[in-house]
């Protein structure tokens, strides 16, 4: 009998600890209130009055990165366009919401009256297409995807992405200008064409500025990528970005570029700097990302989705929706104009004035077209040709980059 009792309590304790562990691992969204007071009657918005658009986000809206940039862009639209309402479901990923698929989240948003749906992760491509096929009357934007380009998307889907390649080139340049060790590290998310082309862009920017402004040969620049496996940390599933960042620092890399949605690289570099090390970081995605480590932040390349979302919300409301695959560049005359530039770069407090001037010179060359870093000859890691000598890579070649470039250390393709 005692044995039974013991086993029984063992079971209850184990279950309890499992439940508690599950609760503990939930990343909290903080207490950001839902920006809407949606009434609960389902479907059919009262004709024409209010245009509701909804967003499905892969991570939390306050991640200081990719998802926050999307969330704030939606707020921008609400501010600028009268008569629109914004609703969203965030943290739609198998770790945070194991039994919610993107189709379900979209369904809920449409149920609340959304007539335009934005999904913000490459992982949502298939689910977005399925939901779009089921709701031909609703407009869809799959951000960062390319299913319209490949012809696999239903006609009510558009793709939208920013030419972050430029932002990453600028980031790479800032890193190369600052490093003393000549060792740059890139905290990579998962491996796909998008993340490969962004690593390559960072490397190209870094190599150019290393050779041009530092006057050092490319062989003396170490550039290493470690992929954690997803856009953000999922305990027990991905590599821990905090640990990866610390490994970089311990291996003597003195600038860490982040390619993930969250800010671990900056936070860890800041800690190391406070402990007396000379380490810098360049976060990613969100204009305000430097705030989590001003002292070590060289700057941040960020997405400014607001203007494009505003344009597309107006397009959808006017009923002029058409399929399109868009890859929007920066406004070179004013990178940081919140109303026109999709891609921006904010210089961080840690960037020296001298280097800031060189960086401006680099940006000016990109802006006037006198410098195109995707000019051949460029080689992949395995020695095969990415861009032949004398040619410039076209959009499709860049979009579908199949390997990291020669000179980069790290896993290139699966």
């Amino acid at each position: 009998m005692n044995v039974r009792l013991a086993r029984w309590s063992l079971l209850v304790l184990t279950l309890l600890s499992l439940v508690l562990a599950a609760c503990g691992s939930q990343p909290t969204t903080g207490s950001t209130p839902v920006p809407t007071a949606v009434s609960t009657e389902p479907t059919t918005p009262s004709a024409g009055e209010e245009f509701i658009f909804g967003m499905v986000l892969v991570g939390p809206i306050n991640d200081g990165g990719w998802n926050q940039a999307h969330y704030e862009a939606a707020q921008y639209v609400v501010e600028k366009v009268p008569g629109v309402k914004f609703i969203y479901i965030d943290k739609v990923n198998p770790a945070d919401r194991p039994n919610v698929k993107v189709e379900q989240a979209i369904e809920e948003l449409i149920g609340q009256g959304a007539r335009l749906i934005i999904t913000n992760s490459a992982e949502f491509a298939d689910g977005t297409n399925v939901a779009a096929a089921a709701h031909p009357e609703v407009a869809f934007i799959h951000a960062s995807g390319d299913k319209v380009l490949t012809g696999e998307a239903p006609p009510n889907v558009r793709n939208l992405m920013g030419r972050m390649e430029y932002g990453k080139m600028i980031a790479g340049c800032a890193a190369a200008l600052t490093t003393e060790a000549g060792r740059l590290a890139y905290l990579g998310p998962l491996i796909d064409p998008e993340t490969r082309r962004l690593v390559n862009s960072s490397y190209l920017g870094a190599r150019y500025c290393w050779e041009t402004y530092r006057g050092r040969p490319a062989e003396e620049l170490a550039f290493k990528v470690t992929w954690i496996g997803f856009w953000f940390n999922i305990p027990g599933v991905t590599l821990d970005p905090t640990k990866v960042a610390n490994d970089f620092i311990n291996e003597g890399y003195d600038v860490i570029l982040s390619g993930i949605d969250t800010t671990e690289a900056l936070v860890e570099a800041n800690k190391a700097a406070q402990a007396g090390k000379r380490v810098f970081a360049i976060p990613y995605d969100f204009k305000g990302a430097c705030a989590q480590g001003e002292a070590v932040c060289l700057g941040v390349p960020y997405f400014n989705w607001g203007p494009d979302y505003k344009r597309l919300v107006e397009l959808a409301r006017a009923g002029k929706w058409e399929p399109a695959w868009e890859w929007t560049g920066p406004n070179w005359s004013n990178l940081n104009d919140p109303d026109t530039s999709m891609i921006g770069f904010v210089k961080g407090p840690a960037l020296s004035a001298e280097n800031a001037a060189k960086l401006d010179e680099f940006i000016a060359k990109l802006a006037d077209g006198s410098l195109n870093l995707f000019t051949g000859p460029l080689y992949y890691q395995d020695g095969s040709v990415f861009v032949p000598e004398g040619q410039v890579a076209d959009d499709k070649t860049i979009w579908y980059t199949s390997q990291l470039l020669a000179g980069i250390e790290g896993q290139s393709a699966p």
Binding site: R7, W8, L10, L11, V12, T14, L15, L16, L18, V19, A22, C23, Q26, T29, P33, V34, V38, T40, P42, I87, I89, D90, P94, A95, R97, P98, N99, V100, K101, E103, Q104, A105, E107, E108, L109, G111, Q112, E123, D126, V130, A133, A134, L190, I191, D192, P193, W227, G229, F230, I234, G236, V237, T238, S402, Q411, A413, P414
Partner: protein, 334 residues
């Protein structure tokens, strides 16, 4: 007197669970009535939500049915989650090896392969228990981690997408290999049919056959059963294998009917939820289906909570967990 107690105890647990959840809801400042309306009836409000609920209930019922066998046999199979994962991986094997074969044949092979995979994985727990003296609770938990690691390895390694390495999962299966699905509803009718069929078979086996009688005897008192000539160890192994097979089929359904790919979190906590169902039902087959439907409905209904009330959908988990805890507590007084 006994009859009254049988009715009062679950009622007491129900009330206590709702009081606790209500307190949690009040602390967030939302109307508990509105929240309960969504949690309890939300899943029945539209045909799509209803079918989402059914597609969650199907694997959940399979796991709960499997667990009711091991509970009857006196074993706590916490490894059910891992058995589901191994079932999903095993089910992928024929689908990836011979995608051109007739779909019907492939589904049968996937189900068989999933069931065998889950059963073998479960038997390992039996082996550890019998020959290494490891409690099946801990053996099961440990093997869940192992299975999860294996799924990760398959997704990132041999079965990764063509040009990428992402933890989001393998490439989608070819459309013809999806279990036939009503697109508008995302409902694969075969899934609930399989689950209910499994419930019927297990119910019959446990209550109407000599094998079921022996399993029940082993569950009540293994030592006495052994003395009466029942092959106790064998029966225990059989219950584990049966549970593992059903969990494996649940994993197979996750692959061919829900996710249409192998994802790292393919079991999605359904096995553990099944454990709660089995505990709450006291492994009584009559209660499995209603509790499964209720739990699946809570989970699906709560998806609306963040949208409409601005609170986290985890509150459904609080309600489910509280129900089980209080049910256990009231029972412990016996």
């Amino acid at each position: 007197m006994k009859r009254v107690a049988v009715l009062i105890q679950p009622l007491l647990a129900l009330v206590a669970a709702f009081v606790l959840t209500t307190l949690a809801l009040l602390s967030t400042g939302v109307s508990p009535l509105e929240a309960y309306r969504l949690i309890i009836f939300g899943a029945f409000s539209t045909p799509v939500r209803l079918s989402d609920m059914i597609m969650l209930a199907a694997p959940l019922l399979l796991c709960a049915v499997g667990l009711s066998i091991t509970f009857t046999g006196g074993l706590y199979n916490l490894g059910v989650e891992g058995q589901m994962i191994i079932g999903a991986i095993a089910a992928m094997v024929p689908l990836r090896l011979w995608p051109d074969w007739p779909p019907l044949l492939l589904w049968l092979m996937a189900a068989l392969s999933g069931a065998v995979g889950g059963a073998l994985w479960a038997l390992l727990i039996g082996v550890l228990r019998r020959y290494a003296g490891v409690s099946e609770i801990f053996a099961g938990l440990g093997m869940n981690f192992l299975a999860g690691g294996l799924a990760l390895y398959m997704v990132l390694g041999p079965w990764r997408r063509q040009t990428s390495a992402s933890l989001s999962g393998t490439d989608l299966l070819p459309r013809e290999l999806w279990l036939p699905t009503i697109d508008r509803l995302r409902l694969a009718p075969a899934a609930p049919v399989i689950a209910v069929l499994a419930l019927a078979i297990v119910w019959w086996a446990l209550t109407q056959t000599r094998w079921g009688l022996e399993v029940r005897a082993v569950g009540l008192n293994p030592a006495a059963s052994e003395r009466l000539g029942i092959a106790t160890a064998r029966r225990m192994a059989e219950t584990l294998a049966a549970c593992g097979a059903l969990a494996g089929i649940a994993g197979m359904l996750q692959v061919v009917a829900v996710h249409h790919a192998l994802i790292p979190n393919i079991s999605s906590g359904i096995g553990l939820l099944g454990l709660l169902v089995a505990l709450l039902s006291r492994a009584d087959p009559r209660w499995l289906l209603p509790i499964v439907v209720a739990f699946a409905a809570f989970t699906v209904g709560s998806i609306q909570l963040p949208l409409t009330l601005g609170i986290d959908s985890a509150i459904a988990g609080v309600l489910q967990g509280a129900l089980v805890l209080f049910a256990l507590a009231t029972r412990a007084r016996q």
